[in-house]
């Protein structure tokens, strides 16, 4: 599999990649009707733009410079053409405006779909994927890369289409009006094309080198500013200023190079258009003398030439946008093609499958990578209504047990079953509804407390309130300013570690799981919250099957059974009194606590 984005800086795609275009088009397909509408509007815009100089020419030849007609006929005719001119201006305005809007709407809708597809795809991918791919890079796919592609749908598809259509239209018209002069001006086309293409290439190279230097410069500033205290403390300001000046000057040098390039190219297009005017005056004038061309046509030629050179600059800039959009598209589709989805179990469990809250681990082995085994032959069971505590030092494999229970990872060997159903026969979705977990970290959504507790269960305020009262959590809500309607998360009420854990427990209870897993908070909690937490735990222990990773002996002592885990192996297992009698590790731990 390709490594996404490692080469973002220097990465280019050749436009001819068919598969890529096919997939882009498949996203456009649902919008085929509005898209055709936009193309139609494009025709209107081009037609009205090109018709304006033509009306001008007709008016000049038929009325303004036509001494054969009477004065009144000439004035009336001019008025009529003026009206037609005005009408076309309005059509042009309306068509151009609606086209921009239509395309923006299409582009945004496509991007929204792409973003949604990508986001929901990402959430379906199994967990090990996320340890390999930095969050920042995945977010870039969702935001910046999608944004890049949007550019292509709006500015490119339209402008390119409009511009090319217009240029072709102008050439056809010119040749129709006067074959020789038209063909003569045709000479400018390959010249313009050559200049535009070579400029786009050069501009892209320079643009990239500027961007690279800028990101170097910014990275340096970022690093130095965040480490400014180190620089001051270690007396290195002078060196840092010198390094900075070097990068800063390098950036200036590159931008100046770019200015030189633009300074050459931009005036060249102007020069071409001036040359075209000269050619029209010289050759067209000659044709007029020989009565091959009318004065009105000469004026029209001049206007069309101006219209012809306008889009040239745009086209050269659009070229690089297409390049970067395609590179983004490829990265996005690559990510969408990741097949690391969580395994959906082949047969969905029938809805009558009952879960009584019993859990067994049978000879479970596990390693994250083949080098180091994390769990060795783990076997234990939690009976219905029982509370089992796991005790062990950091790194003994406690959280790995949770990871396996939730099927974030699959055991290397051995079977875990819930209420007699092996986990691999259950879909992760059903499994995670039956096993409620309270982890050390808590996810807080920027929403009301009520919505944070109810999540997707659809419970209303009354139901949540009742549930909280029952589980001794009522006091937790009373302490907050607006009760269940308190806004939490960014910009709302902040919560302490203890409160977050209470929220997590409330959230889990609300889902009415048949089995509870608790990872007790290991950091210090204020005494008031501590008391609440203990009451709630008491409630849980009485009502549910619970597996708790304990950090306090007082919690452990209330468990029905205790498992002592070390380096991925179960060292001791039994009730508090049994283990004390055994006189092993656990009894020593307890003794230490009372010393």
């Amino acid at each position: 599999m390709r490594n996404f984005g490692y080469f973002e800086e220097d990465y280019t795609v050749s436009i001819s990649e068919k598969g890529l275009w096919r997939r882009i088009i498949s996203y456009v397909r649902p919008f085929i009707i509005p898209f055709s509408g936009a193309v139609l509007l494009s025709l209107f815009v081009t037609a009205s733009t090109l018709a304006l100089p033509w009306i001008m020419q007709r008016a000049i030849d038929l009325f303004i410079t036509n001494p054969e007609k009477t004065f009144d006929v000439r004035i009336d005719g001019l008025g009529l053409y003026g009206l037609a001119y005005a009408g076309l201006i309005c059509i042009n305005f309306i068509a151009a405006f609606s086209q921009v809007l239509l395309l923006e709407w299409i582009g945004q809708s496509i991007m929204q779909r792409l973003r949604q597809d990508l986001f929901s795809h990402l959430l379906q991918i199994h967990l090990p994927f996320f340890t390999k791919h930095p969050v920042g890079r995945l977010v870039t796919r969702l935001t910046n890369d999608v944004q890049n592609m949007h550019e292509m749908f709006t500015s490119i598809m339209v402008t390119l289409f409009n511009d090319l259509l217009r240029m072709v239209g102008i050439l056809v018209l010119l040749i129709y009006m006067n074959l020789h002069l038209g063909l003569l001006l045709f000479v400018f086309v390959p010249l313009a094309a050559a200049i535009t293409i070579s400029f786009s290439r050069l501009a892209r190279v320079q643009f990239r080198s500027i961007r690279k230097q800028l990101s170097k410069l910014n990275a340096f500033i970022q690093e130095t500013v965040s480490g400014v205290y180190l620089v001051q403390l270690f007396n290195r300001s002078r060196d840092m200023n010198r390094q900075f000046a070097e990068l800063n000057d390098g950036y200036l040098e590159r931008t100046l190079r770019q200015i030189r390039l633009f300074g050459t190219f931009m005036p060249l297009t102007e020069l071409m258009s001036t040359m075209a005017v000269a050619v029209i005056l010289w050759y067209g004038g000659g044709e007029i003398i020989q009565k091959e061309l009318s004065l009105g046509e000469l004026v029209a030629f001049l206007s069309y030439m101006r219209l012809f050179f306008q889009p040239l600059r745009e086209i050269s800039q659009k070229y690089s946008i297409v390049q970067s959009a395609l590179a983004s598209a490829e990265r996005i589709f690559n990510l969408l093609d990741t097949k690391d989805h969580e395994q959906k179990s082949p047969a969905l469990p029938d809805p009558e499958k009952s879960f009584n809250g019993a859990l067994t681990f049978a000879d479970v082995n596990f390693s994250y990578n083949s080098q180091q085994q994390i769990l060795h032959q783990i076997s234990f069971s939690v009976e219905q209504g029982e509370t089992v505590a796991i005790v062990g030092p950091t790194g003994s494999g406690k959280s790995t047990i949770i990871n396996l229970m939730l099927r974030f990872y699959e055991p290397t060997s051995g079977v875990i079953s819930l209420a007699g159903h092996p986990l691999h026969s259950l879909s992760p979705h059903i499994l995670r509804r039956e096993i409620g977990v309270v982890m050390q970290e808590t996810l807080i959504l920027q929403d009301t407390l009520l919505n944070n507790i109810a999540l997707d269960t659809g419970k209303n305020e009354k139901q949540v309130q009742d549930l909280l009262e029952q589980s001794q959590l009522g006091a937790f809500i009373e302490r907050l300013p607006d009760g269940l309607q308190t806004q939490i998360g960014e910009g709302g009420q902040t919560m302490s570690t203890g409160e977050k854990q209470l929220l997590a427990i409330a959230r889990v209870l609300c889902r009415e799981p048949s089995f509870l897993v608790l990872d007790e908070a290991s950091s210090a909690i204020d005494s008031q919250t501590e008391k609440l937490l203990e009451q709630t735990l008491e409630y849980c222990f009485n009502k549910k099957s619970v597996l708790i990773i304990a950090h306090r002996l007082s919690t452990v002592q209330r468990a029905d059974r205790i498992i002592v885990l070390e380096k991925g192996r179960i060292r001791e297992q039994g009730s508090h009194s049994q283990l004390l009698e055994l006189g092993g590790i656990y009894s020593r731990l307890v003794a230490l606590d009372f010393e």
């Binding site: 500033i221 001051q232 200015i259 001036t274 731990l589």
Partner: protein
Amino acid sequence: MLGPIYAKHRLRIGLGLVALLGVNFLQLTIPKILKTGIDGLSDNSISQRELLQLALLICAIGILATILRFCWRYLVIGFSRHLERDLRKRIFTHIMTMDGAFFTKYSTGSIMAHGANDLSAVQMACGMGLVAAVDALVMSLAAIFFMFHIHAKLTLFALLPMPVLAIATRILSKRLHQQFDRVQEQFSLMTEFARSSISSIRLLKAYTLETSQTKRFEKLGMDYVHSSIRVAIIQGLLFPVATLVGSSGMLMVLYFGGKLVIKEAISMGDFVAFITYLNMLIWPMMAIGWVTNLVQKGITSLKRIHRLLHSRSHLPGGIAGKKPDSPTFTLQNLNFSYPGSERIILSGFNLQLLPGILGITGPTGCGKTTFCQIIARMFPVADQTLLVGGQDINTFPPQSIQNEISYVGQEPLLFSSTLAENIAFGSPDAEMEAIIRAAKAAAVHDEIMALPDGYDSRTGEKGVTLSGGQRQRVALARALICNRPVLIMDDCLAAVDTATEQQILHNIADWMHGKVVIWVSQRVKQLALADRILVIRNGKIDGLGSYAELKTDNDFFRDIVRRQRLQEPLPENSHA
């Protein structure tokens, strides 16, 4: 503020503007030549030869204009880049002298964002903005002058729609900026949502929130789409309005000008020249609206940069050259709040810091880190509350205090250079042996040697990836090598496993001997090594004493000792 920079480049700007005016002048002569030709054609008074001469003249003017155009672009826009460079340099050197209070007000992110956006706004205003302003002014005045010269009344008719364009672009581009800011905001909301969702993917999955989270994301996306479309409405109006106004002017010329030609008040050549002048006017009219916005944004940005450059360090400068006699600290009823904030972070600290190890612990947010930072002279304190070697700290230049201190923070920040350079950051002339000795003491030597390039391995974006624990140990080595009399370690080994931490503490015992050592840790067991332990809670001293004393006398300390027992290596093993 920009005065000196302008003065420095005055020749460049002057020449650039002269070139620009030259281009304008040349551009205006082309319609005149066209007029001569067309008038000649319409009354059959011109020969092929004369036509060719006129055409060649136009070509010559075109070539000259091209050269001059290159000149002004290079000179004036180049100037704006020079200006950008000079300003960036001033900002950078200024920031490097700021104290901690400045950085609580300006985060790195905001410095970066404002720096980048404001600089480019100023650069745009002084480069393209300047050109467009001069260009628009000269071109429009000249074009109008020539048009008046042809026919005054027709000029008025032709110009009738123009103010609409200037006003419309002004209003629309202002709206555009506002809407655009909103789109940016929504974009960052979306980004932040995606980021937080993906970083807590484990929890999302545990609560089966995939679907509901996707719905939330969809809503954010839709909001973004709506704002973007609102931007598109404005943006979509801008160009068609310009075309509309330009064409309306042309309509006026066609109808009224046409009438004038019929009435023979003006010649056909005048008519064509008039149209050409009118075409020249459209761009300056659009530019007026655009330029005013550009300049306005530039000025706002310049003001922000000005504020940044004029913020002063809150640390008093002290008496130049004064150095403390001994590195002992005395805290006399020290209170602390961040400058500009009401919240009291530390209150009523009375304490002496003498050679020996002072351990510090307490719940998160209690003020431990602030305490370390005050000692390390990052924040200002009131007179006579903190003494160094018996004298008020405010009488010393900050650098002379900082020269006494080695500080290792929680976040092990390494610079993008080699590991050897990182370790020798505080003493760039250190011998390789000294570097290795420090790395060995910080128990990171073996791991460095295991890297393909050893001490020459580069850290940072394109270099080796070190684990959090490895970085913390490199940062510790960097502090050790300086061998300064005060060593502050603020929870600097939190990502290192307990066994290695024990090892390091053993290794650095010699380095710490006779120094004032402040050592913040959450791991109580290791604190037993300290001579004294300070417990801070809610910004106050909650307890001060030996490990044994605190375990009996201090509720908080006793509680965490118990809590952490279950996370430590099991008793059987620790004796083994």
